[in-house]
Symmetry: C2
Subunit: 362 residues, 2 copies
């Protein structure tokens, strides 16, 4: 097969080196009991070492302070949309959410089932699209936390900076941006990220939570979803998604080999700049609906001036080995997800394809 690239928003492309390593190591038999990774008791020492390695690598990569717990939990981000209010509401009546687009709205919908939600700031939805203004934010007095979605995977919007929420713990759904750049974890009370973008495969979510937030009394949280229980039992309070954790460890190792998060950020910024530049210099044939300064570096959303050409363009790209470019169902258009594993050659191939298509249809 000739070169092919997967621009899906998730599950997304994995680095070829990680797939090669997985092909060997997932099937390698342990010295002690001869089990493959698929068959290993998750209470045993071998899997314990795998879990400890993944946790240590992630702690190093993000320089997670010692007063934070790192949890590897089953399920995706949607489950955390419930778990966050269930675990953090405590005795407060209010929670605050910034509405920055599709996924924050999904999180708000779920939180509203458990607490009174104050919209701290709102995305206007007018063009050019932008993140909510960073001040002033409306935070009620009796507020358990303030939730943001720093990168809106569907909308293609990224916050230019973090808001200042004062003493209110900042909580972030970092699913599509975690590990794409250095991040000051100490700015957050809790961060979560589903794995299938930059951390490996679907079915696992990482939660990084500050110790003091675990002291709040929880609502009636299922034990398997109780951060305190999972923190106390090292993410093994119930059946962990073992293979997802094995692969996350491999993804973390790969990031270290590529120069860590500074390396990921430099590479990601270069890729995003190339693509947005190709869009902006297409004389209007392609256009990005998001304002400069608010454009996601990982989910590049763009449209064709002639909407009737959207599907022909996506099909033409697929014929050229450039796959899964269709925009999120809520928005249409085109979306190219440029997670860590997308090589610059993939991006250059997309830009060349856009130029070819423009020549044929301009």
């Amino acid at each position: 097969m000739s070169a092919r690239y997967n621009f899906a928003a998730g599950s997304s492309e994995m680095p070829a080196a990680v797939l090669e390593r997985a092909r060997t190591e997932l099937f390698a038999r342990a010295d002690d009991d001869g089990s493959t990774a698929f068959e290993r008791p998750f209470t045993g020492a071998t899997f314990g070492a795998t879990l400890a390695h993944a946790r240590a690598r992630l702690k190093d990569l993000l320089a997670v302070p010692d007063n934070y717990h790192i949890l590897f939990l089953a399920g995706g981000a949607t489950q955390q949309f419930s778990m966050v209010p269930l675990n953090l509401l405590g005795n407060a009546a209010h929670v605050a959410y910034a509405d920055s687009g599709h996924w924050s709205q999904r999180a708000i919908g779920e939180a509203g089932r458990y607490a009174a939600v104050t919209i701290a700031a709102r995305y206007q939805g007018e063009r050019p699209l932008a993140a909510p203004p960073l001040s002033p934010w409306r935070l009620p007095d009796d507020c358990a936390y303030c939730h943001i979605t720093p990168n809106e995977t569907a909308d293609g919007i990224a916050y230019p900076a973090l808001p200042d929420c004062g003493a209110v713990p900042l909580v972030a759904d970092a699913t599509s941006c975690l590990l794409t750049a250095p991040l000051d974890v100490s700015r957050f009370g809790l961060l979560y990220a589903a794995a299938q973008k930059n951390l490996g495969i679907a079915g696992m979510t990482v939660v990084i939570v500050r110790d003091d937030l675990l002291r709040r009394p929880a609502l009636l949280v299922p034990s398997s979803c109780d951060y305190r229980v999972q923190a106390a039992q090292g993410s093994r309070a119930n059946t962990p998604p073992t293979i997802a954790i094995v692969l996350a460890g491999m993804m973390f190792d790969w990031i270290v080999q590529q120069g860590g998060l500074a390396g990921m950020q430099a590479c990601g910024q270069r890729k995003a700049a190339l693509l947005y530049d190709a869009i902006d210099t297409s004389a209007g044939f392609f256009r990005a609906p998001v304002a400069p300064g608010h454009r996601s570096p990982v989910n590049v959303r763009f449209e064709l001036a002639y909407p009737a050409l959207t599907t022909p363009f996506i099909e033409y790209a697929a014929q050229n080995g450039l796959h899964n470019l269709r925009g999120h169902g809520a928005f249409g258009g085109v979306r190219a997800s440029l997670y860590n594993a997308m090589p610059e050659e993939g991006l250059r191939a997309l830009i060349a394809c856009m130029a070819d298509f423009t020549r044929n249809h301009g």
Copy 2:
């Protein structure tokens, strides 16, 4: 490496043929977008076909009636300990549970957080151990369901038959016994089974639920854990554990190739009979604490007459390639789990090892 066998209670041994297939197919690139199974968008057609195949195979194997939904959900059985009462309690105040040992007690503990739990029948804990008597069962009038654990993985106890709960829906944690024998699904309102015994890898649970039970109003269930939502959206209401579903499909295919559930049952009964016979004819050197007729065919629990020999026996077995025989932490002793993937040769090797050990220490 010479022959080795993994008697772990879970994650457990997988068939060599399934591992071989996984080694090829997990890394094969799809015709449409060139993605491997790890990288495939779970909303796409390729993964949709994988999910539909797994569901259809399971429906065939168990002859699941058309008025049942089959769900593939993230997480393990412990999560279902919460999800069952959260989803099924409805307007009832009571739920009934049979206490048959370790895992039913865990389920009872979780259910007690949401509802008044009536113990319908109780395991006495006296030797020889046995399942709760099958009648009379105490079921309150206002009872949402009655929950059983037909095979107690830790205790090594299996019900000889199902109780008659009349109009009260019977719910079962079938984690360690599903797909080891034919089962009349129509006897149950809901069945669930974590995958890491006979359905593949850790991190996924199958739920089979009768349609009418989804009509009850739910407590405040997280959307990702709401059976109605998952049934309506074909198990894709949130991020599914994609690789676990791929592997479950392969496990189902393998069972079909081995003669289906009748084949699994015949093979399993033969293996269990051989091992229990070796224990019962060891002149007391080994002994099974569970009464005949109540002995689990998949989790064979036994003890040595001289407890000081337990660890030497387990170590001797491991030196001979027979691994993970240590009993559940709550009970000690020895436990040999004989799930579908354990070949009869593994079992015969264990029996030979027991005889050798007896000769050396008898």
